[in-house]
């Protein structure tokens, strides 16, 4: 089982949340909102593409719209494999984070 890199993990989660509306623009916006970091297009699209190519995501091609200058959209959705990878990630996360209680973290952020 592959351990997802952080961007990959975030992207997969974003795709999951966005359900039918997961494409480049929305995925990026979602991640920027949630992390507070201004991700460049490269930082999003490159892992996104790789995930699709490796089979964690599948793509659907949409209709062209005028605001996009007549270009079509590519929608992404999770595959079985993608879901499995997320489940695996969650399991690892849970098991590794379990020691760190919410109180420890709160103490740190106050001081830092």
């Amino acid at each position: 089982m592959k351990i997802l890199s952080k961007p990959e993990e975030l992207i997969l989660l974003a795709v999951f949340s966005l359900k039918d509306n997961a494409y480049g623009v929305t995925i990026r916006k979602h991640i920027i909102d949630k992390t507070g970091v201004d991700w460049t297009i490269g930082a999003v699209y490159v892992p996104l593409n790789r995930l699709a190519r490796d089979g964690y995501l599948e793509t659907t091609i949409g209709e062209p719209t005028p605001e996009r200058g007549g270009k079509r959209k590519k929608f992404y959705s999770l595959t079985q494999r993608g879901m499995k990878a997320l489940a695996y990630t969650k399991r690892i996360n849970d098991s590794m984070w379990s020691r760190l209680s919410a109180m420890d973290l709160a103490a740190l952020t106050d001081k830092g």
Partner: protein
């Protein structure tokens, strides 16, 4: 303006993967619109550029990573493919490697030939002086021309003589014959011969100087410093060594061991004469137009030489053309360059055609792979790239094989071509780069047809197994085989014909006897003692004749103006002549058709002439004996007419020749005819006799026919080289045929099995399989014969004397090709025919 600036989009476009471009650009337009809407035009632009700048790195890396993984994927496929069909792959690679090795060898040779004399810094502006008259062009020019040209024409920047004479040089107890070049003072300024010791500027300050090559210096001085030491020449002249130059590179048309001052050796007055004796070179300014200058200097001889009403025109011949182009006419050696380049291309072509044939013939094996690939979304260009990649890869492996082959073949090739070519890929960066490019080129060319062929399959038909390797395709493949064999047959014909011509030349009756005749090159000391030595030699019963002449019978080249009674006084005729001693004609067994040969019974023979039949025709004398004849104002009578013999090489017609007996002119060639038995003793006797009279003279008598063989060395080499390459071409063609037949047989194995079950004999199965190919070979013959006839007859025209182009050669070539093809085919067909039919049919 809601769309991002065109330029920035264009930049982004090129960093993105082809497939993703549309979507990402579209996404960005959307976002751009939003940003523009909220923050205005300028901010939007800044944002866009910022995104591009920060994203270049990830996109770029992604692109590279992706390309590399595609590449390794293809590589894995290619390797797996090669493993599965090791036999075919090896044949392919072998064929390509041989073809490439040939090309490389020929390339090295051509490169050397083209590089002659380029090492001189001023090579572009150096010219050889030619003198043209009614009867041809010569490279001999008058001594006085060099100073005159320099005086009269500012366009001539520098000028020098260059004449090589054999010189006996001695230092302490070491003495050798050296090739000494008589040169003018400006020679070292014009030509680039780097000095290892000494200074070129002062080399000939003192006329009693000599400059040695490194090799020559080593001969006399070993590792001592030669500067300032004195060498004695011809036992008379003392010269001080003023410099040592690097050994002359192999690609120089000028060869010599020493440089001496012409003025010192020839004398100042002589350099003002207008007799044609020496070669001259001139240096023009860089921007000069040679045609222009040539026009200006053209009439110089006519202007100054008042001796005869001669019409000699001075011409310029560029230095760089000297090696490959003939001044006189006859074949330009550059033709050989073209011929060999053509051969290289032909051989490479045959190898590439092989490759194409073998690769496409295996199509049915790869069809499935291709079909699936296409269905999964492989577009045609990707497929083409894959196949091209494979063929380039194979070409690289072939390159390695070719390099190994070249290393092994180079010594043999060098001796064949009489050169010392080097092939050093480790030292020579450009060579290495060139080889790599060569491999890529070959891979692309050879792989182009298979790539297009394979990528044009239609996936659905392929997978449903309704695909057939159409007859259109096999038509093309057949054409390729025909081309290969046509080329091979042409080469066979060419080789055989050229060999016949060489044999003919070697064995042709020259009109005089050249067997058992020793030639001794006589230098000054020896010449003076001719009569004594002749007497002593003749005392030995094994010595049949002794005579001498100014030139060897096959190299009668010098000519002089001649007159005879009734000659049209306005026309101006020169004839070749030879100064001969008594017994000349007897020594060579030349028969007289009229009159007699020179004889001691007639003391006036010193002023008489003997001419050959061609000369007699020219004079128009019906009965020439007793008629007047004169050469150079010396009047005399004709006492004999000798039957025509070849006075120059067999390239030329028999020319008119005049024989005289000027006793004052020293004979530089002595001829000693000895008996056929006890040759070794006779040679010994000759050497001892000469040594007794002139001690310390290095005598090396050579047999006349050995000397003649050397004249036709070039043709002999051509023959050998052609044979080698013909053999190669045939080998490669057979390789191709071999692989192809194997494949065809395998493909038709079911058909064969069924036939056998139905009772066909081995023989009839073989016949059926071979029939296709035999037809092709016959077709190749039909094409090759007229082509061969055409090319060979054009080549033969260069020789005034040549054999007929015999049909036997063509037929033999055709049969040979057929036989070889049959042999190649038969192995595979036999195997196919004797295979157990049950095995084949079982796979159903």
């Amino acid at each position: 303006m809601r769309t991002p600036p065109r330029f920035s989009e264009w930049i982004l476009y090129h960093f993105l993967e082809k497939k993703e471009r549309e979507f990402i650009i579209g996404d960005l337009r959307e976002v751009y619109g939003q940003v523009w809407y909220s923050s205005g035009n300028l901010k939007a632009k800044i944002w866009y550029w910022g995104q591009i700048r920060r994203s270049i790195r990830p996109f770029l890396f992604n692109l590279i990573y992706w390309r590399i993984s595609m590449f390794t994927n293809y590589l894995k496929l290619a390797i797996r493919h090669m493993r599965r069909h090791l036999g075919y792959s090896l044949i392919n690679i072998l064929g390509l490697a041989i073809g490439m090795a040939c090309c490389i060898l020929i390339f090295l040779w051509v490169q050397h030939e083209l590089s002659y004399d380029r090492f001189h810094e001023k090579a572009d502006d150096l010219y050889l002086i030619t003198v043209s008259g009614e009867h041809g062009t010569w490279i001999s020019s008058p001594w006085a021309l060099v100073p005159t040209l320099k005086n009269d024409f500012p366009e001539i920047v520098k000028a020098s003589w260059f004449g090589v004479i054999p010189l006996l040089a001695r230092y302490e107890h070491k003495s050798f014959f050296e090739q000494a070049a008589l040169v003018g003072n400006e020679f070292l300024d014009m030509f680039t011969f780097p000095f290892v010791k000494g200074n070129p500027e002062y080399a000939f300050e003192n006329l009693n100087s000599v400059v040695l090559t490194e090799q020559a210096a080593a001969r006399y001085f070993g590792s001592e410093d030669p500067i300032g030491k004195v060498i004695q020449c011809e036992n008379q002249v003392d010269l001080a060594v003023t410099g040592v130059i690097e050994d002359i590179p192999s690609n120089s048309h000028m060869e010599f061991d020493l440089l001496v001052s012409a003025i010192r050796f020839v004398g100042e007055p002589r350099t003002r004469t207008w007799s044609m004796d020496v070669s001259s070179y001139v240096l023009l300014p860089s921007q000069a137009d040679p045609v222009d200058v040539e026009n200006k200097i053209s009439e110089t001889i006519i202007k100054y030489d008042k001796r005869t009403n001669v019409k000699y025109y001075v011409g310029l011949f560029p230095l760089k053309k000297i090696h490959l182009h003939s001044v006189y006419g006859g074949i330009d050696p550059v033709v050989y360059v073209y011929v060999f380049s053509a051969i290289a291309v032909i051989v490479l072509l045959i190898a590439c055609i092989n490759f194409m044939n073998l690769t496409t013939a295996r199509s049915s094996i790869r069809i499935n792979e291709i079909g699936i690939r296409k269905v999964c979304g492989g577009d045609r260009t990707d497929l083409i790239k894959q196949f091209l990649g494979e063929s380039v890869g194979l070409a690289f492996i072939a390159l390695i094989g070719a390099v190994v082959l070249v290393y092994f073949l180079l010594p043999g090739f060098n001796s064949l071509a009489a050169k010392q070519l080097e092939f050093n890929i480790f030292n020579n960066g450009t060579l290495l780069a060139g080889l790599v490019l060569f491999a890529v080129f070959v891979g692309l060319v050879a792989g182009s047809y298979p790539a297009l062929y394979f990528s044009s399959f239609q996936p659905d038909r392929v997978l449903k197994n309704t695909f057939q390797t159409g007859s259109k395709r096999s038509g093309l493949r057949k054409t390729l085989i025909v081309t290969q064999f046509t080329a091979s047959i042409l080469l066979i014909i060419a080789t055989a014909t050229i060999y016949k011509q060489i044999q003919y030349i070697r064995s042709k009756d020259l009109g005089f006897s050249k067997d058992q005749i020793l030639v001794v090159q006589a230098r000054r000391q020896l010449r003076a003692n001719y009569s004594i030595i002749k007497e002593r030699l003749l005392a030995n019963p094994d010595v049949l004749h002794v005579s001498a002449a100014s030139s060897i019978p096959l190299s009668i080249g010098n000519n002089n103006p001649v007159y005879w009674e009734g000659r049209d006084s306005n026309s101006y005729v020169r004839m070749n002549f030879a100064c001969v001693d008594y017994d000349y004609f007897e020594t060579f067994d030349m028969k007289m058709s009229y009159g007699r040969s020179f004889s001691r019974e007639y003391p006036t023979d010193q002023e008489n002439y003997i001419i050959n039949e061609a000369a007699m025709k020219l004079t128009g004398y019906k009965d020439p004996i007793g008629k007047m004849f004169s050469m150079w104002k010396d009047e005399g009578t004709i006492v004999g007419v000798v039957k025509d013999f070849h006075g120059t090489s067999l390239y030329n017609d028999i020319r008119p020749i005049v024989f005289v007996m000027y006793q004052n002119l020293p004979y530089s060639n002595w001829f000693i005819k000895i008996r056929g038995s006890r040759i070794a003793e006779s040679m010994d006797f000759v050497k001892k006799t000469i040594a007794a009279v002139v001690p310390g003279y290095p005598v090396e008598p050579e047999f006349l026919d050995e000397h003649f063989q050397r004249q036709y060395l070039n043709e002999g080499r051509l023959g050998k080289i052609l044979t080698s390459f013909t053999g190669l071409a045939i080998f490669i063609s057979c390789l191709g045929l071999f692989g192809l037949v194997a494949f065809m047989a395998a493909r038709r194995s079911k058909e064969i099995a069924i036939r056998k079950v139905l009772g066909a004999s081995i023989w009839s199965v073989m016949r059926i399989l071979s029939r296709e190919f035999i037809v092709l070979v016959v077709l190749a013959n039909i094409i090759a014969w007229p082509l061969g006839l055409f090319v060979m007859s054009r080549w033969m025209r260069n020789f005034s004397y040549h054999t007929r182009i015999s049909f036997g050669v063509f037929i033999a070539a055709g049969i040979a090709a057929l036989a070889i093809a049959l042999l190649t085919v038969s192995y595979q067909t036999f195997r196919a025919a004797t295979a157990n039919p049950a095995d084949r049919l079982r796979n159903e």
